[in-house]
Amino acid sequence: MNEVNLSVQSGEFLAIMGPSGCGKSTLLNILGLLDTPDSGEYYFNGVPTAGMSELNRTRMRKGKIGFVFQNFNLIDELTVYENVELPLLAVRMRPPERKKRIMAVLDRMQISHRRDHFPQQLSGGQQQRVAIARAVVPEPGLVLADEPTGNLDSANGEEVMQLLEHLNESGTTIVMVTHSMAHAERAHRTVNLLDGRVIIDHRIRQFHIA
């Protein structure tokens, strides 16, 4: 990253584009408090995070940021239900409430009928829906998606984009890294990176702060 100045509003849908190695995933990891910048400031919900310890970043991340990855990153030894349950276990939600929340999210993702299956028994699209379910089940304010449609065919990819759009419409801030211009244009704003710098910051459609 090289002198990146960026702000993301609550409820905004931001798409980040750029060639391979330009720093898109690095930026996403910093936004998600998985990584720390070598220099500069990063404010998350108004809280400065530079110099924060790993423990404090984890605590800050817990329940507030959801991640969706290109390769789904589901745990093979856990069922669909158990994969989605993970973030709620991290925030120590009580079992009855946990179950209610998980079932609601699985219904929303239209994957509840496969809740007892293992990831290797699902198609790519289904796996990504589970991954999105896991990301949103703690009702985070921010969802970071790193090429969420990269490993999917166009039909499944379209399905995932619709889910992300619905999420954003219900108030979740989404930052998505993508190679697809068509998918990027569904965001409120696109940012193009090159060699670690923001070279284009383009508003596609109006965004109203809630």
């Binding site: 990891n29 998600g32 605590r59 991340r61 990153n73 589901l74 158990e82 993970l86 991290a90």
Partner: protein, 784 residues
């Protein structure tokens, strides 16, 4: 999830479980063995207050200056005057001094030899715990001509029970009334009589009277029960000089019962042996733990995705750390329970291997179960610390990107230390087990200095006197019989002795010398070589006043020309006419002591030991002939034939070394198994991590052989380092082995273990290379 993950990778799960089960099983078995020895005599309720009277002889040379053979007089006089003493019991082994046991019979035609009996004061029941199943301790030994039996002895005559009040005949002559039957004493009892006779009958049965006031007759044992809170050291100070008017340099003292089995005579051999086994138990556990650490690390490093996801959703380092530690402890506990089952059902086999009775199972042994569970928890906890620390600290971004964790690649790293330790400990255990095995084998089978084969012995209790010659002549008329002799003691049955001085020694200089009374042809029958001078001969009647000595005696006395020199025994000087080659007379374990041999008279008691050498392969015939001749020569007297070899195999040190040999062999096998499992898992994991590299090297044209050498080379340095450490450690251990003699350490002991370790490593690497060779390169690269 933990169980599912294990089921998805059954090979690694199986290796991990096998490692833990084998390691904990080995630890359990050694612990049982140690517990058996450390719990000797603890079944006695008053254990902490029981002491054995012993004597320390401060003479110049004695392989063992301490003895539990004491005069009865001390127990009858000096000890009774002490306020600290609550009870005293004097006992004496039953049988004559050279015959262990008596013949008993319900039917005079079928006497049965019962060994390991004692004459005893009735106060013995106030000191030791005897559980009576018939009769009671109150009146069991209070009347003359009575007998108390152990359950096992009683069942030989009264298999249906109800022995109380019945009559058995001692030596076919004296009727005795059974006044009690007690439960067999546990195997781990230092004193374990199979029958008891009242001490008041001692004089009548043995012909030795007036022993209660005799301070010179050292053949009794005396046990003392001190009052609560009494200090035995104060008692020792009071009785220290009790023998000064009778025997100079002899100092009686009380030895706590708790020390009698492990270290009765302040010789550390048993403690060293048990210490070595404890050390091995600990090492096996350490090896198991190291294996577990390596396998846990291997498993953990393939859980990158899980770690990355959990971190990304908000699991803290501490939560992940506890997850790993909890899983490790759970796995360890589960395997510990399986190990308990393995040991429980394997107890009959283990007991047979050891020749001990450690009990039919293990689930009654709550103390040991508790220890094992604790060990499992501790093992699981400490073994998981390193992998849990490494994994939970890993950057979540890297964790999500990589399939495998790349551990540190420093010159010296914890990982390399663990791997080297695994090699070193594995190899050390294997080598040491072999050394133990060979040392034990050497002790049992070593050259004794006499010919132990083709010999039968008989002991007779008879009131006849005379000479053995007529019986011998009758035996020799049979071609199957080659020679025969009569002695008071034979090799492996220890005689008494005395403190003696010698010609050329200083006036006050004395040493303890064992004394054997033998007939003509003793040395010939046992094929003991005479190295100087001559054997006893009928051509020299004056030989009755002369003696032979062994080479150790010559060395101790400092004689250059021993023939013609004199030994000064109490009351008489003996001229030496010959020197015999040293032979093992006492046990395989102890050093050879000075010995002197005197000729039996023409008219002696014919109660003693008869040794008969037969022609090879004619044992049964020889026994039949001997039995017939003895029945003719000693009508009505009870006697018993047995192969001489029984005296060797039943001797205490031989038995103990026999047990150690079997245990060593078992633990060599365990060590090899645990080492192999650990090495297999380690190399397997390592090769799997290298799959991508293997695929790429295949693409660029590496042959199988070069791939193999590349992988093996990465282990080579660690293996060599492990070998050096283990060989050095094994050498140190060899020098610590107890025993008067050690077998000569040779290269095979080191090489066998090294070869095994290397073969396992080679086999595992080969297996993985073959797997890679058969897998398509595209699959390997896609795997990454």
């Amino acid at each position: 999830m933990f169980i599912r993950r294990r089921m998805n990778n059954k090979l690694m799960a199986g290796i991990s479980a096998l490692n833990l089960i084998a390691g904990i099983t080995a630890f359990l078995l050694i612990s049982l063995f140690l517990q058996y020895h450390l719990n000797y005599d603890k079944h006695n309720r008053l254990y902490d207050r029981i002491y054995r009277l012993q004597i320390f002889s401060d003479v110049q040379y004695s392989s063992n200056p301490h003895s539990a053979s004491v005069p009865a007089a001390l127990g009858r006089h000096e000890l009774t005057e002490l306020p600290e003493v609550e009870k005293i019991a004097v006992i004496h082994s039953a049988g004559d001094d050279n015959i262990d046991g008596y013949y008993f019979s319900a039917d005079p035609s079928s006497p049965v030899m019962i060994k390991s009996g004692s004459f005893s004061d009735s106060t013995i029941f106030d000191i030791f715990t005897f559980n009576f199943i018939e009769g009671s301790a109150r009146d069991a030994l209070t009347s003359p001509h009575t007998l108390v039996l152990s359950r096992a002895s009683a069942e030989k005559f009264f298999p249906e029970g109800e022995a109380y009040g019945k009559v058995l005949y001692l030596e076919n002559k004296i009727p005795l009334t059974v006044t009690g039957v007690y439960e067999d004493l546990p195997g781990n009892s230092e004193w374990r009589p199979e029958f008891l006779l009242p001490m008041q009958d001692y004089a009548e049965y043995t012909g030795y009277s007036n022993r209660d006031d005799n301070y010179w007759w050292y053949s009794f044992n005396t046990y003392v029960l001190l009052k609560k809170n009494a200090d035995f050291k104060q008692v020792n100070e009071k009785i220290h000089d009790a023998l000064k008017n009778y025997r100079e340099y002899h100092y009686p003292y009380l030895r706590p019962l708790s020390k009698v089995h492990i270290n009765a005579y302040f010789q550390p051999d048993m403690m060293i042996a048990l210490g070595l086994f404890s050390f091995i138990a600990l090492l096996i556990l350490v090896l198991t733990s190291i294996n577990f650490v390596n396998l846990q690390t291997a498993d953990a490093t393939s859980r990158m995705r899980e770690i990355g996801i959990k971190k990304s959703v908000g699991y803290t380092y501490r939560e992940l750390w506890w997850q790993f530690v909890g899983e490790a402890i759970a796995e360890s506990l589960f395997c510990a329970m399986l190990a308990l089952l393995v040991v429980h059902f394997g107890m009959p086999l283990y007991n047979r291997i050891l020749g001990l009775d450690l009990g039919p199972g293990i689930f009654h042994n709550l103390q040991l179960i508790g220890v094992v569970m604790l060990v499992a928890v501790v093992t699981g906890f400490f073994s998981s610390l390193y992998p849990a620390f490494i994994i939970s600290r890993y950057n979540p971004v890297k964790a999500l990107k990589q399939r495998f964790l790349t551990l540190e690649n420093n010159r010296i790293s914890i990982k390399k230390v663990l791997v080297t330790s695994q090699f070193a400990i594995s190899l050390f255990l294997v080598i040491v087990s072999f050394i133990f095995f060979k040392q034990a084998d050497f002790m049992i089978n070593k050259e004794m200095g006499f010919d132990k084969d083709d010999l039968i012995t008989a002991n007779i209790k008879t009131y006849r006197t005379g000479s053995f010659d007529p019986v011998r002549q009758r035996l020799l008329t049979f071609p199957e019989i080659k020679n025969a002799c009569f002695t008071d003691y034979i090799p492996f049955i220890l005689p008494g002795g005395d403190d003696m001085s010698w010609e050329g020694g200083l006036p006050d200089e004395k040493t303890f010398v064992r004394v054997y009374n033998v007939s003509y042809e003793y040395f010939d029958t046992y094929r003991i070589r005479i190295t100087r001078g001559r054997d006893f001969s009928r051509e020299y009647p004056s030989d009755r006043e002369k003696c032979l000595v062994n080479e150790t005696a010559v060395r101790v006395f400092g004689w250059k020309d021993p023939v013609g020199m004199r030994i000064k025994a109490p009351g008489k000087d003996w001229e030496v006419i010959g020197v015999v080659e040293d032979y093992v007379a006492q046990s395989v374990h102890n050093p050879i002591e000075p010995q002197t041999f005197r000729l039996m008279g023409d008219s002696v008691s014919l109660t003693g030991m008869y040794s008969i050498r037969y022609a090879p392969g004619k044992k049964q015939e020889a026994e039949a002939i001997s039995r017939s001749v003895f029945e003719e020569s000693y009508p009505g007297d009870a006697f018993n034939f047995e192969p001489f070899i029984n005296h060797i195999t039943s001797e205490n040190a031989t038995r103990i070394w026999g047990v150690f040999r079997n245990v060593s062999f078992m633990f060599a096998s365990f060590s090899i198994l645990i080492s192999s499992v650990g090495l297999f898992g380690l190399v397997l994991y390592y090769c799997r991590r290298k799959m991508k590299e293997i695929g790429i090297r295949k693409v660029v044209g590496f042959s199988l052989f070069r791939l193999y050498m590349k992988l093996a080379g990465e282990f080579l340095g660690l293996i060599v380092l492990g070998i050096i450490i283990s060989w050095a450690g094994a050498w140190i251990m060899y020098n610590k082995l107890p025993g008067a003699e050690k077998y000569g350490l040779q290269l095979p002991e080191f090489l066998i273990g090294t070869v095994i370790v290397v073969i396992v490593s080679v086999a595992t690497i080969s297996y993985n290379i073959l797997v890679a060779a058969r897998t398509s390169t595209a699959s390997i690269l896609k795997y990454e």
